[in-house]
Amino acid sequence: MAAFLELRGVTKKFGDFTALNDVSLEIRRGEIFSLLGPSGCGKTTLLRVCAGFEQPDAGRVILDGHDITDLPPNRRRLNTIFQSYALFPHLTVRENIAFGLRVARRPAAEIKREVGQTLALMQLEEHADKRPALLSGGQKQRVAVARALINKPEILLLDEPLAALDLKLRQRMLVELDNIHDEVGITFIFVTHDQGEAMSISDRIAVMHEGRVEQIGTAAEIYEAPRTSFVAAFIGDTNFFDGQVLGPDTNPDYCQLAIEGFTDIISFNDKRLPTGQLAHLSIRPEKFRISRNPPPPDPFLNRISGTVEEIIYQGTHTNFWVRAGEYRVAVRQPHSRFKLDQEIITWKDAVWLSWHADDGCMLEQYRADDESLLSLPDPDDAHPAPGGTTGTTPPAASGRQRGIAT
């Protein structure tokens, strides 16, 4: 499908800080496209470049075949939902929603009709004559959406629209936004730092890091086949093992991997990392099988042994922390049947962990000085459950219990 909104090599610097570094991406008509990343990754700047609030230092913004890079925001057929909603405090809900049409000098009767329809669509009729200060967070957000949608924009830009709401409301508004998208059928660009939001609403997600797009794909693609260590660590939980490519397997899609303390590790190598390359092997906690008896031999099944250090029963699943060599491995065992689908494993048990070669993901090692990765939530404080990136750091190598490359 042809690109509807296209960014070509967009770069934006603020002083010495590079907010966007040569970003190129294509957004299709009608999709919900998320920009996902930690704070400071440039996602909001990218949105502001699309809206016209920031002029890129280099690169072009092309909407539906027309170069809009130099157009001011009021001449772009895009509307923004701001994080703070930016409702006009001196106007009522009705006047806020009518604002765009009034500025466009549309006939009064038409404005009245359109505003009435929008109020009904967003279920805001009973609040129409209130000022924004009297509205709840969810209502404010609906007004912000209504105020933008009434202008029938080509694309709706949403800048962390749910960040100001509490958890329950956030989930409800997410569904509401999704319904609105289905109803009006326009393209949404959704900026968020919350992977849950991004994964549940988006058709495609661009994961951003330090002003660059690290990966673009569907939720499943970025979760199951991350292209970089950052994506693997930022989306969901994972275990990183430091290794070196020993050489290709008989099947060139697979390679033998040397990881200290383990033997005979084989992994799917879709990126064709060459022999000798230092690599991370990323394995999601739920990809492991945990058992007290050694699993049956299988050339594609990797097996390591360890000792259970911690068990947290969570109802739908149990989280285990297993000491295996130098690594503290996070394992998540889902329960599909009531306590019957597994042998009872307790503390200090010697166990086997196994995973299929296809379930590991080979990634280039990232720099040890990458601060934004080290500042990810620490799984070891408060909740030793796999949350954020899980610890696999050789304890002797570094005092840090952070689990990212040392």
């Binding site: 925001p73 009021n74 895009l78 923004t80 701001f82 001196h90 106007l91 604002f99 765009g100």
Partner: protein
């Protein structure tokens, strides 16, 4: 109502409690505001009433207030000179207020948008004139505008004024110095409001189709309207009562009510007459203030529904 809410009789309902708390808070607030109420009664309202009362007293030849009551002063306020002086006082004050506002709004806006460091510098620059005595600053203007002063000579260089032209002793000079004096008082409230203004609103207006100018007039100005009213009053009221400025840089043709009051008090020694003029001045300040208050109250009613107002 306790029956309706299903509570045992005698137990106060939540509504009762809320009303009680509101009443108690009101009583407490009344005590807190008592000192300022007393202050205003003793040093503002009473003197104003005394001055108004003096208007109805006869003047005695020694400059004192005579016994008995008379309407002589009221009749003499019909002096044909007065309407033109009152009119001049009002238009000079109005024009000074408008110029101050028109200057203060872009300046306050610019200050609010300036980087933190420059902001502090700008605030200081606005305040700096206050470090010099008011009188000295007015006299300094006299020196500047004098036929041998820098401004006069500078303008002569470009042929804008001629040798014989006077820059001093006319209403325009009074206006200039009034604007100079009261501009900082107009800038500060505008700046304070602009600082609190959420500039995302500006972006939202651009996003919704406004250009920079219409975003400014549709969103920025309405958002700081309270500050605009404050700034207008802060300039207009002292300008109405100004005495020193027209006395020093103004001439006969630019007298304002303040000058007439001083003249009646110190030269004619006719206190009731001065009091009458002061009464006119007071009324001409109080009336615009009441209008503004009325407008603001009406706006407040539109903003907040009634029941909410009672609770806060």
């Amino acid at each position: 109502m306790s029956a309706a809410s299903g509570l045992p009789a005698g137990q106060p309902t939540a509504v009762d409690n809320g009303a009680q708390i509101a009443r108690r808070r009101q009583r407490q607030e009344w005590w807190i505001s008592l000192p300022s109420v007393l202050w205003l009664l003793a040093f503002f309202l009473t003197p104003t009433l005394i001055v108004l009362a003096i208007t109805f007293k006869p003047a005695d030849p020694y400059g004192n207030i005579g016994a008995g009551w008379t309407l002589d002063t009221i009749r003499s306020l019909g002096n044909p000179n007065y309407p033109s002086i009152v009119w001049r006082t009002i238009w000079i004050s109005v024009v000074a207020t408008v110029i101050c506002l028109v200057t203060a709004v872009p300046f306050g806006y610019y200050m609010a948008r300036a980087p933190e460091k420059r902001k502090a510098l700008l605030v200081m620059l606005v305040m700096v004139p206050f470090w010099t005595s008011f009188l000295i600053r007015i006299f300094a203007w006299k020196v500047l505008l004098h036929p041998e002063g820098y401004i006069h000579r500078f303008l002569r260089l470009f042929g804008i004024v001629n040798e014989g032209d006077l820059l001093l002793y006319n209403p325009e000079a009074v206006l200039l110095v009034l604007v100079y004096t009261y501009l900082p008082f107009a800038i500060l409230p505008v700046y304070a409001a602009a600082e609190k203004f959420d500039f995302h609103l500006f972006e939202a207006a651009l996003d919704l189709g406004c250009n920079r100018f219409s975003a400014f007039s549709r969103v920025f100005l309405p958002s700081i309207r309270r500050a605009l009213v404050t700034a207008a009053l802060v300039v207009f009221i002292p300008a109405l009562g100004s005495y020193v400025i027209p006395d020093i840089v103004g001439g006969n043709a630019s007298e304002m009510i303040g000058n007439k009051i001083a003249q009646r008090t110190f030269i004619d020694r006719n206190l009731p007459h001065a009091a009458g003029l002061a009464g006119i001045l007071t009324l001409s300040t109080v009336i615009p203030m009441l209008i503004v208050l009325g407008v603001q109250r009406r706006q407040a009613r539109v903003t907040v529904p009634r029941r909410k107002r009672g609770a806060t």
